[in-house]
C-alpha cells in the first residue's frame, strides 16, 4: 500500500514538474529572434496543431472532438497561408532557430504520446494537450514573437492571431469540461 502511495506521489510530482517546465518554456526564449526566425516559429507552431488535429481525425469518434479538430486544422491553415503570403510579399525566407526546433521536437513527443493512446483515453489526452499547447503558444506569441518582431506587418499579423488562439483555448476548455463532467 505504502509502495503504491509512494509511486502515486512520484507520478503527481513528475506531472507537476512537467506542466511547470513545459508550459512556459517557449516564452523563456533568451536570445532575440530575427523576423525570419519569428516567421519560422509561427509557421511551425501552427503546423504542429494541424498535425495534432490529423491524429484526432484518425483516432476519435467523439463529435465534439472531431468538430474541434476540424476547426483547428482549418484555422491554423488559414494563419499559415497568411504568413506565407506575407513573407512572400516581404521577400523573407523563414529561418530555422532554437525556438522552432524546440517546438518541432516537443510536437514529435506529443504526437507519439497521442498515437499511443487507446481509443478510450485519446479524446481526453488530445483536449488536455490542446489546452496546454494553446496556453503555451499564446504566452510565446504575446511575450516573445510580438515584442521581438521589427516588421510592422509581421507584428500586425501576430497580433491578429492572438484572439483566434484565445478563442481556441476557450473552446478547448469548454470541451475539456464536458469530459470532466462525464
Amino acid at each position: 500500500m505504502k509502495k503504491i502511495k509512494d509511486f502515486m506521489g512520484i507520478v503527481v510530482a513528475f506531472s507537476i514538474i512537467t506542466i511547470v517546465t513545459i508550459t512556459p518554456v517557449y516564452a523563456q526564449q533568451k536570445s532575440k529572434l530575427t523576423d525570419p526566425e519569428i516567421a519560422s516559429a509561427a509557421v511551425v507552431a501552427n503546423q504542429n496543431d494541424i498535425d495534432f488535429a490529423k491524429i484526432a481525425r484518425q483516432k476519435s469518434k467523439n463529435e465534439e472532438v472531431l468538430k474541434f479538430a476540424e476547426t483547428m486544422a482549418k484555422d491554423h491553415k488559414a494563419v499559415i497561408d497568411q504568413a506565407v503570403a506575407l513573407v512572400t510579399k516581404l521577400k523573407v525566407t523563414p529561418k530555422d532557430n532554437t525556438l522552432s526546433r524546440k517546438l518541432t521536437a516537443d510536437a514529435a513527443n506529443t504526437k507519439k504520446m497521442l498515437l499511443s493512446k487507446s481509443a478510450k483515453s485519446f479524446d481526453k489526452a488530445y483536449i488536455d494537450n490542446e489546452v496546454g499547447y494553446h496556453k503555451a503558444v499564446i504566452a510565446t506569441v504575446e511575450t516573445v514573437l510580438i515584442p521581438q518582431s521589427t516588421n510592422e506587418e509581421l507584428k500586425g499579423l501576430l497580433q491578429n492571431v492572438v484572439p483566434a488562439l484565445k478563442a481556441h483555448l476557450e473552446h478547448a476548455e469548454m470541451v475539456q469540461k464536458m469530459f470532466a463532467s462525464k
Binding site: T71, K74, D75, A78, V79, N160, P163, A164, A167, M174
Partner: protein, 122 residues
C-alpha cells in the same frame, strides 16, 4: 326632409370627430396601430477579432442585418436555440444578410464561444 337633414348633420359631426381623432394621434401611436408603413433600416455587424461587433443589436422587426467577416478565419452566423436560420461559412471579406423577424441569440458553429444577440424593439 327635416329628418334627412338631421341624419346628415349627425353624419358630418361623426365624420368630423373621426378626422379630428385621427389627426390628433401621434405618428408613434399610428405606427403601433399599423396605420402607417414603417420604413425599415439596415444594420451591419462586423465579425472581427473573434467577436461580433456590436454583440447586441437593437432592431425593428423587418430591419435587415448584414454580417461581414473581417477575420482571417472562416465564421458563420447561426441561430442558437433551434438553428432556425444559418449563414453558410463566410470567408474573409464575405457578407451575409437577413431580414429580422424575431429576437434571437446566435453564435458561430465553428467557434462556439462567439455569441451575439438581436433584440427586437416592442
Amino acid at each position: 326632409m327635416r329628418r334627412l337633414l338631421k341624419i346628415s348633420k349627425k353624419g358630418v359631426a361623426v365624420l368630423f370627430a373621426i378626422t379630428c381623432l385621427y389627426s390628433c394621434t401621434s405618428p408613434e401611436e399610428r405606427i403601433k396601430k399599423n396605420e402607417v408603413a414603417v420604413s425599415t433600416k439596415a444594420h451591419t455587424v462586423v465579425i472581427q477579432q473573434m467577436k461580433f461587433a456590436p454583440a447586441e443589436l437593437i432592431v425593428n422587426e423587418g430591419d435587415t442585418v448584414t454580417w461581414i467577416n473581417r477575420d482571417i478565419v472562416d465564421h458563420n452566423v447561426t441561430e442558437e436555440a433551434n438553428k432556425e436560420w444559418s449563414s453558410s461559412n463566410l470567408r474573409q471579406g464575405k457578407t451575409w444578410s437577413m431580414v429580422v423577424k424575431k429576437a434571437a441569440t446566435y453564435f458561430c458553429t465553428i467557434h462556439p464561444v462567439m455569441k451575439g444577440k438581436l433584440i427586437v424593439k416592442q
